[in-house]
């Protein structure tokens, strides 16, 4: 009994080893995976704002048909004049130029939502928070900085929609009584064309689209999965009874 109690105590303490590291708190992104209109809106934002610098080279334009769009609609609204609807979402920016202008090549966004998942939240949460955490910082080459990814090379592409904000740092006492500066919120310097709620909603759509783009087969996978599991459960039940019927003979 003593040993079992000791084992339980150690077992109870083991989760303490899993304490997560400190990082910027991520907001929870809304789930737009079942909202086709939202995903289409997200595709529009993506093509207009992201595809100038970032490529999504694994994403074929005509796959957008899965979002309920016709090829003509894609050609008319979501394609640059030089691209073909059967082509991939590539960009004209040469990596050499990108390195010179930004210091780094803007990463391909095809599967970025899957890459950014972690302990702090899903990849969707990460990007949702990231795109809403830009602030004005004159010490940076682009004039922008970001609370999620400090000293990011990316400018605030969506600044016209969100507006210009600065961060407010407040004095805060830590455990030892020293005074530190801690993040205490944003101050709007100049409002954008969207209200904060509208902007959050737009980013929700954009990130929802990016999540769809990272795995277009996801909806099919889950739909099929229900049938597969139903079938296999039935099969397992039959196999169980078949086994029982044979083993009755074994004395």
């Amino acid at each position: 009994m003593n040993l079992a109690k000791k084992l339980l105590t150690i077992l109870a303490l083991l989760p303490a080893l899993a304490l997560a590291e400190e990082g910027f708190q991520l907001d929870h992104a809304p789930d737009r995976s079942n909202d086709t209109a939202a995903l289409q809106h997200g595709a529009k934002l993506f093509v207009n704002y992201c595809l100038n610098c970032h490529a999504a080279a694994s994403m074929r334009y005509n796959r957008l048909r899965d979002l309920g769009l016709s090829e003509d609609q894609i050609k008319a609204n979501l394609l640059f004049t030089s691209d073909k609807v059967g082509g991939m979402m590539t960009v004209a920016m040469a990596p050499k130029d990108a390195k010179a202008w930004f210091g780094v090549v803007p990463p391909d966004l095809s599967v970025i939502v899957r890459a950014k998942s972690g302990e702090a939240g899903t990849g969707r949460d990460y990007l949702y928070t990231y795109l809403r955490s830009f602030y004005k910082d004159d010490t940076r080459p682009t004039g922008w900085n970001n609370m999620v990814l400090h000293n990011v090379a990316m400018p605030h592409v969506l600044w016209e929609l969100q507006g210009i904000r600065t961060i407010r740092m407040a004095d805060v006492k830590d455990e030892e009584g020293h005074v530190e500066k801690a993040f205490a919120g944003y101050d709007t310097v100049k409002p954008g064309t969207l209200t904060p709620l509208e902007y959050d909603n737009a980013i929700g759509d954009l990130v929802g689209y990016m999540e769809w783009m990272a795995e277009p087969a996801a909806a099919t996978r889950k739909r099929l999965g229900v049938w597969v599991l139903l079938f296999l459960t039935g099969f397992a039940l039959l196999a169980w009874r078949l086994n029982a019927s044979f083993w009755k003979e074994v004395k």
């Binding site: 040993l3 694994s58 074929r60 795995e215 996978r221 599991l229 296999l232 196999a239 083993w247 074994v250």
Partner: protein, 469 residues
Amino acid sequence: MAFHETKFPADAPVAVKAVGWIDDRFPLSKLWNDQWGKYYAPKNFNFWYIFGSLAMLVLVLQIVTGIFLTMHYKPDATLAFGSVEYIMREVPWGWLVRYMHSTGASSFFIIVYLHMTRGLLYGSYRKPRELIWLFGFAIFLCLMAEAFFGYLLPWGQMSYWGAQVIVNLFGAIPFIGPDLSLWIRGDYVVSDATLNRFFAFHVIAIPLVLLGLVAAHLIALHEIGSSNPDGIEVKENLGPDGHPVDSIPSHPYYTVHDLFGVSVFLVLFSAVVFFAPEMGGYFLEYNNFLPGDSLKTPLHIAPTWYFTAFYSVLRATTADFMWVLMGAVAAYVAFLWIKARISTITKIAISVIALLAIIGMLPSVLDAKFWGVVLFGSSVVIIAFLPWLDHSKVKSIRYRPTWHKYLYILFGLAFVSLGYLGTLPPSAVRTMVSQICTLFYFGFFLLMPWWSAAGTFKTVPSRVVFHPH
């Protein structure tokens, strides 16, 4: 011997005549009966005995899905990552094949670890089944190599840097290390050259070796006959028909039994494939969705979950830990002098080697990185020695002293803890716990000749414990 054609009556079914024709020229029916149809196995197999069949199923699954993946995958450093996404998006059902392969890989290790646990619990490796265990150990080594080579192929960040770290470990070997690493990589860093050769190893070289070893594993098993949860040698008690009284033919009894086991596995497997293929980042690591970049080192490089236990042992071997190891080696040699029933010459030889090792562990001689690699390798290899370390009077845990069960539970906890800690970045507390678990892990094996024989054993029954269904 002259050829003898089996004669069938004129009205015999075509199938019977066809099989008869083959049997005259190839031992088809004999093989079927010897290996499965009339292979008599103990009737008291429990849950733990499904994992051998499941391992074979997953091997076939990996080969079949692997073949289809190879049709579209491009083993080139600039094309590999994109080709995987091509499979996921453009190849019809490509996403399903990919997820089955990645889930299959992790499933293979879960199954193999549980299969090895069965061996530990029921003494399956005891005489005369040592060779089955050794073939199995070789399969385990090949499986780890196969997984390691396969993991580089998607060319993600974790693929690239995991390979970089592990191949660099070979550089820790004195004198030949750096040249050895260069030879393995085919380049000074992991590059396209490495990818191409790892592709060859993963797709054909190791699978061929694996198939050969699995055949040997099964042949060795069928030669002796299966053991059982009671550890009783069923062939010592034959019935009037010449078969063991406690055995049943595998067909149909274990055919339907395994069919049920396989169906349960497929339910769990499909649940993961269709609803959680990433499995929280353990089966498909998040960082691997970033293309491998030789200029961007990830903050936290860890191997896939199935290697993390042994990786923890490597990381636990810090410079400070070397002093503990020196003490442990000295204490073990002292213990051997007092307790081991071996000749004095052997004891002297062991002491000389131990002394050289202790000198080698001094900070100025061989650094902790080398000893980390030694312990890393040893933590895997020591498993192979189980048949000669286990001196228990009985095979099965059912008839061992009760306190042995607690030792096994602790061992399991130590192994799982090491595995879990290996997925996390190190910290002072975590390193300390890893070191304690490492000492317990090695102690479990190295002291087994003595503790496994100690205590009051229970009487092993003459007939297997079987409750009719």
